[in-house]
């Protein structure tokens, strides 16, 4: 399940950056891979693609800092 989520996230990120250079655990923010719209687009993508509703406490940048972090977050929300 985790791997499927990662593949989906990578597919989404391919529209925003060169995912071939992005490791699963790389810091997306620190690495300069994306622009400021990333977080907005990632939030929208996660909500629509995985049918996840975000709560106030979910708005933590660490949840979206890397592909692994985002995939773990999605898995937690869906469990």
């Amino acid at each position: 399940m985790m791997d499927e989520i990662k593949v989906s996230l990578r597919g989404f990120l391919a529209n925003l950056c060169d995912v071939d250079k992005l490791g699963d655990d790389d810091d997306i923010f620190a690495g300069g891979f994306v622009n400021s719209l990333y977080l907005v687009q990632m939030l929208a993508f996660i909500q629509s693609e995985f049918n996840v509703e975000l709560a106030e406490d979910d708005y933590d940048m660490n949840n979206f800092r890397s592909i692994t972090a985002a995939a773990s977050f999605v898995e937690r929300k869906r469990s």
Binding site: N15, S36, L37, V40, E56, Y59, M61
Partner: protein, 378 residues
């Protein structure tokens, strides 16, 4: 024959009520345009009708309009006066942000206030940061119990009238933070900006923050999520501008038709001359197409894909308003160039619609990006 509507009777009744009220606004529009002043009398009238509470849920004392009814309200305002619709736009953006991103305590504090008494304004743009919003230079430094805000915001619509600003700044490095700042806070100075081409009664201001203290409880969401707050508020703003543009298209069509029926040349009303008839036909088509795109945008609000629908509606309707207003001046001829006719105001106001809440060029970029994602399955 009764016209078949794409909305229900209840929404149609609301639409009628909003258009009735907009006649009161239209009465002020020309003077407001000339004087560059949004009168306190008109503001009080709008507040008394609770129209500023359009997007605030009823549990907080607001009208709790659905996106379609909110659209009708903006169309009616846009038909009468773009500056008035601007008021509705920026205030509603602040209401939307508090309602979507605020904690229960923040909603309980701010929303009743924004229903009737307080005017909200959206403070993102800076002297060096417009479309590239991430390049803002305003900074919020953490201090005990809150933040010290410093920087300058420019072109802030209704900045001269606002009681509370939704301000975006950088904090903890490059994280964007969204905060509600009361206009009466120490450390704020507000300078009027006049001489605008269009929407001249929008009471624009430059706002300077000099170490202005903002308590922790005024921060919406968390540092780093300010851009998400901003994006969702902008979506509300774009929906508002799209519907307002449709209202302006309709106003152009009404004025052009009325003139073309009354004005006779070569022995017949000018609407019977094919060159003029073609302009009016295009105007009517663009007005209807704009309204349909706005209906789609309202219908998809809150659902996946809403952003693209809202962007499309804003892009098309604002361009249609510009085309319609230009053709209206043309149809009215010399009379359209004179200040006694609203045609010139429509023309100048329409240009602003292609710039505010995202220029047509930025929106094209965003739409192209959406098309690219659609193609790749995301």
């Amino acid at each position: 024959m009764k016209k078949q509507l794409l909305w229900n009777e209840a929404d149609e009744q609301l639409r009628g009520e909003f258009y009735n009220f907009s006649e009161r606004i239209a009465h002020f529009a020309s003077d407001a345009d000339r004087s560059e002043i949004f009168s306190d009398e008109l503001l009080a009238d709008i507040k008394a009708e609770k129209l500023l509470s359009a997007l605030i849920p009823q549990e907080y004392g607001g009208m709790g309009l659905n996106p379609l009814a909110f659209g009708f309200l903006n169309e009616a305002f846009g038909h009468a006066c773009t500056s008035s619709r601007n008021l509705l736009t920026v205030h509603s953006m602040v209401c939307q942000a508090v309602n979507k991103w605020g904690t229960q305590a923040q909603k309980a504090r701010w929303l009743p206030m924004l229903c009737a008494d307080a005017v909200g304004a959206f403070a993102l743009t800076e002297p060096k940061a417009g479309s590239d919003a991430a390049s803002i230079e305003s900074r919020a430094e953490k201090t005990e119990g809150g933040w010290k805000l410093s920087g300058t915001k420019k072109w802030i619509t209704f900045g001269q009238k606002a009681d509370v600003f939704l301000v975006f700044a950088k904090a903890e490095g490059d994280k964007i933070i969204a905060m509600l700042v009361e206009a009466k806070s120490p450390g704020i100075s507000i300078s009027p900006l006049g001489g605008m081409l269009g929407a001249r009664a929008s009471m624009l201001a430059e706002i300077n923050f000099s170490g202005c203290f903002v308590p922790d409880e005024n921060v919406l969401s968390r540092p780093g999520f300010g851009f998400a707050v901003c994006a969702s508020a902008l979506e509300t703003g774009r929906l508002s501008v799209a519907w307002g543009s449709t209202g302006l298209c309709q106003a152009c069509l009404d004025l052009s038709c009325d003139h073309a029926l009354k004005r006779a040349q070569f022995g017949k009303p000018i609407i019977e001359h094919q060159q003029v008839a073609a302009l009016i036909a295009d105007m009517m088509t663009n007005t209807r197409a704009s309204r349909l795109l706005c209906l789609q945008a309202s219908a998809s609000c809150g659902k996946p894909g809403a952003s693209a629908d809202v962007l499309t509606a804003k892009y098309f309707a604002s361009r249609s308003a510009m085309k319609s207003a230009g053709d209206t001046v043309q149809i009215l001829g010399a009379a359209g160039l004179h200040g006694d006719s609203p045609a010139g105001r429509f023309f100048r106001d329409a240009k602003s619609l292609e710039i505010i809440e995202g220029t047509s060029q930025i929106i094209r970029n965003l739409l192209a990006q959406t098309a690219r994602m659609d193609l790749s399955g995301h």
